[in-house]
């Protein structure tokens, strides 16, 4: 079994943390992990991509196009930008809260309406879409900063996901400050439940 997750977002959103949680959970379950991260110049508010591949004998730190089992987007435009890693069976999880780039706020480019981005994602052929307002959910859990825990929770609910919900949560909580554990646990659970709801037949 080889399982690929492409994590995408904007520098500072916690993409790196989420990918390390995945890798650490896999290694603690005695699986192999091959991952790639973005550091340096690319982290200054630019697009950020991390790849996580887990399972037996994974070597390549990058995925081929269309190979991801899960595409986890921390920002809607970034999710859309990276659809090339997904295929029609990929679970696409996206935060619906935009981070508007300076190219847009300074008037040089335009940011499409979020609804249009979600429509574009669907019409590209994504059949299993989990779109969440992770910021509002995190706020409800106690702090908007826990949005990444909402998304990590949502990912843990994906059918066939190779790591257990308990494992993901415990590794996540090891990596957040003591005083933020409750909020992050709640955010994780909310993301998990919301994803289950998204995926259940209506």
């Amino acid at each position: 079994m080889k399982y690929g997750i492409q994590l995408v977002g904007v520098g500072g959103q916690g993409v790196l943390l989420a990918s390390t949680v995945l890798g650490s959970a896999a290694v603690s379950e005695d699986m192999d992990a091959a991952m790639s991260e973005v550091h340096g110049m690319a982290q200054r508010g630019g697009s950020v991509q991390c790849t996580v591949r887990i399972g037996q004998d994974v070597l390549s730190p990058l995925l081929s196009q269309g190979e991801a089992n899960v595409l986890l987007g921390f920002e809607p435009a970034e999710t859309c930008r990276n659809l090339v890693y997904a295929n029609k069976d990929t679970y696409v999880i996206t935060n619906t809260v935009p981070v508007v780039p300076v190219t847009v706020s300074s008037g040089l480019e335009e940011y499409p309406a979020v609804d249009d981005i979600i429509k574009a994602v669907k019409s590209s052929g994504v059949a299993k879409l989990i779109a969440l307002d992770a910021a509002s959910m995190a706020k409800e859990a106690g702090n908007a900063i826990a949005a990444n825990s909402v998304l990590i929770g949502a990912m843990s609910a994906v059918p066939g996901f190779p790591l257990s919900k308990e494992k993901m949560l415990s590794i996540l909580l090891e990596r957040v400050p003591a005083k933020a554990k409750d909020v992050n646990q709640k955010a994780f659970e909310m993301g998990y439940e919301a994803a289950l709801k998204c995926l259940s037949p209506q």
Binding site: G23, V38, G40, P61
Partner: protein, 604 residues
């Protein structure tokens, strides 16, 4: 970090962390670097743990000094390590080339971290050529686990040959993460004894001529060791043949079927016999390597010298690209030749999305300096000579404060050249760390040669920000149990022969603009030190005192000058008027000073 220091276990490590662990297990006593992506995180581990494990570690002022510090350790019988990004080896190359002549007593390993695809650099030069150029044996790890193992192996090899050994990594190796098995570290030896040996170590021509012969002997012996090295092995099965190294091996191993792969871990000198035999067994061999056809050309030479008619496919045949890093998808170019695994159809979308380049952070003092400098320069304009650091991002609109960048320190040299070769004003920008690294000779040159149209602005943010906030001479040292005071920039500038020098806080836009005006009017090279600590660092240290600014929507006339001219990422547009994001704004007050209506005010 405790996990990294354990005696055993299987843990998830970044390639760079695995390299640091390799140094600990190998008992490397001295390590030195100048930070540079993608090698920086090695230093991040070492400045934390070096004194705990009994190693001496330093951030040197630049790469050549790092190389010299490590070389002295190795000729004194102490295992040593110098590490840097690919272009760092250009800086260190003068020492590197001669070190290969004089050789070493204890193991010395030099790591070059190359950056195919130019993720965070100014070029994607292939430093495997340095191994050939300097006749220095080279190892190329593929995964984090191999990073650790090959560092240990490189020390052994260096000691067998009395030659420094180059370990060449790439971004996808340094910044890959994978499981690594830990072993018990060797005893650390930090101090040695230097025994005089001028006949080898002092490279006057008569000695260097003898050293040259020794060097050729060493590389010949290295070739024999490469031949029997377990780091060069054949794996997989099938009729097709592949020769590869580094991260490219992972793509070949996982995404190509029915192929036998000769994986080269000890890739310079090549195991010629092994390559020859591999070629003889195959009617066609594909060489898969990123960037330049280094292995491919060697393989072609071996085939030619041995009269082997095997077809060799690679870059020279136009099948594989030279530019940019490879991915599993790069191999699709070989679909008519090798059996490439078929994957699912990728999705795509037509919707137009805005670009998202990296930008200066909210509250970055460089933004204020650029804004004020442009105002002071006015319509007449200037040639903006910039340098290597966060401030290279000043190239983007609306700042457009970058007209040329070559390398560390080049801002001052090029500005001096423009000052003589044109009648335009030349304004150079350089960061504090880059100034210490490579700027000082340029500044001495400007004073000495009277480059009178030159204005240098030293962007002193009290850290080496881009690579992860490493200390530098200007910040003083406080790690590894060693403390030293900060080196002050202003007296240093004066000592370089510069008469006009002023230090200003760029958060005061009026003051910095006035200072730049005076510098531009001064008849002679002039220097402004624009000093304000990087807020990102202050935040990390828990010392950032945030102020909250807000837009008074009644006063605001919606001119959006704050957005179009200052373009801080904390600003966005809400119903035609700017809105300040509370989480990202740190309260530098720049936008408030830019606003013609005084509509942006401190709230808290």
């Amino acid at each position: 970090m405790e996990k990294l220091l354990a005696d055993s276990g299987r843990i998830l490590l970044l390639g760079n962390e695995a390299i640091a662990r390799g140094l600990i297990e190998a008992g490397c006593g001295v390590a030195a670097t100048y930070p540079g992506t993608p090698s920086s995180e090695i230093g991040g581990v070492l400045d934390d743990v070096a004194d705990k494990v009994g190693m001496y570690f330093e951030y040197s002022v630049n790469e050549i000094v790092a190389m010299e510090v490590a070389a002295a350790a190795a000729v004194s019988g102490v295992r040593s390590f110098a590490f840097m990004k690919h272009v760092g080896l250009n800086v260190a190359s003068d020492a590197f080339m001669t070190l290969s002549y004089v050789g070493v007593r204890a193991g010395m390993v030099i790591l070059t971290a190359d950056d195919p695809s130019i993720h965070s650099s100014q070029s994607e030069q292939d430093n495997r050529y340095y191994a050939k150029f300097g006749l220095v044996p080279m190892l190329e790890p593929t995964t984090p686990a191999e990073c650790k193992d090959m560092i240990i192996e490189a020390f052994k090899l260096s000691e067998k040959l009395h030659s420094p050994v180059l370990v060449r990594t790439t971004t996808r190796v340094n910044h890959a993460r994978g499981a690594v098995n830990l072993s018990r570290p060797k005893k650390m030896q930090k101090k040695g004894v230097f025994e005089k040996d001028p006949a080898h170590l002092v490279t006057v021509p008569a000695n260097a001529r003898r050293d040259r012969i020794d060097q050729l002997e060493r590389i010949k012996k290295a070739q024999e060791l490469s031949e029997i090295s377990p780091l060069n092995y054949i794996t997989g099965s099938g009729s097709d043949g592949i020769i590869t190294s580094g991260v490219s091996y992972t793509y070949a191993a996982e995404y190509i079927e029915n192929a036998e792969i000769l994986k080269l871990g000890f890739s310079y000198p090549l195991p010629e016999e092994k390559v020859k035999k591999f070629l003889q067994r195959k009617s066609r061999v594909v060489v898969i390597e990123e960037l330049e056809p280094v292995i491919e050309d060697e393989v072609r030479r071996i085939a030619q010298q041995n009269g082997i008619r095997t077809e060799i496919i690679g870059k020279r045949t136009g099948h594989l690209p030279r530019a940019y890093e490879y991915t599993p998808d790069t191999l699709k170019a070989l679909s008519g030749i090798l059996k490439i695994k078929e994957g699912a159809q990728p999705l795509s979308s037509e919707i137009k999305l805005p670009s998202r380049p990296p930008v200066l952070c909210a509250g970055c003092p460089h933004r204020s300096t650029f804004y004020a400098t442009k105002k002071a320069v006015g319509k007449e304009g200037a040639i903006y000579c910039t340098d290597i650091g966060c401030y290279t991002l000043g190239v983007q609109p609306p700042m457009n404060c970058a007209d040329i960048t070559l390398c560390m320190g080049s801002s001052i040299g090029t500005a001096g050249g423009f000052s003589e070769a044109t009648d335009q004003k030349a304004v150079a920008f350089i960061g504090d760390s880059t100034f210490f690294h490579g700027g000082i000779p340029g500044l001495i040159n400007a004073g000495y040669n009277k480059h009178n149209n030159l204005v240098l602005i030293i962007l002193d943010n009290r850290t080496t920000a881009m690579t992860g906030h490493q200390p530098n001479p200007g910040t003083g040292r406080d790690y590894g149990g060693i403390e030293s005071p900060p080196l002050k920039i202003e007296p240093l500038v004066r000592a370089c022969g510069i008469e006009f020098v002023k230090t200003v806080d760029p958060y005061d836009l009026v003051a910095i603009e006035q200072a730049v005006r005076e510098a531009l009017d001064f008849n002679g090279p002039a220097v402004i030190v624009s000093e304000h600590a990087c807020p990102l660092l202050r935040k990390k240290e828990g010392k950032l005192e945030k102020k909250l600014y807000e837009v008074d929507r009644e006063k605001c006339i919606g001119c959006k000058i704050c957005l179009s001219k200052f373009s801080c990422p904390a600003l966005s547009v809400d119903n035609g008027k700017p809105l300040i994001d509370r989480t990202s704004c740190i309260g530098c007050g720049g936008c408030a000073q830019v606003c013609p209506q005084n509509a942006i005010e401190v709230k808290q």
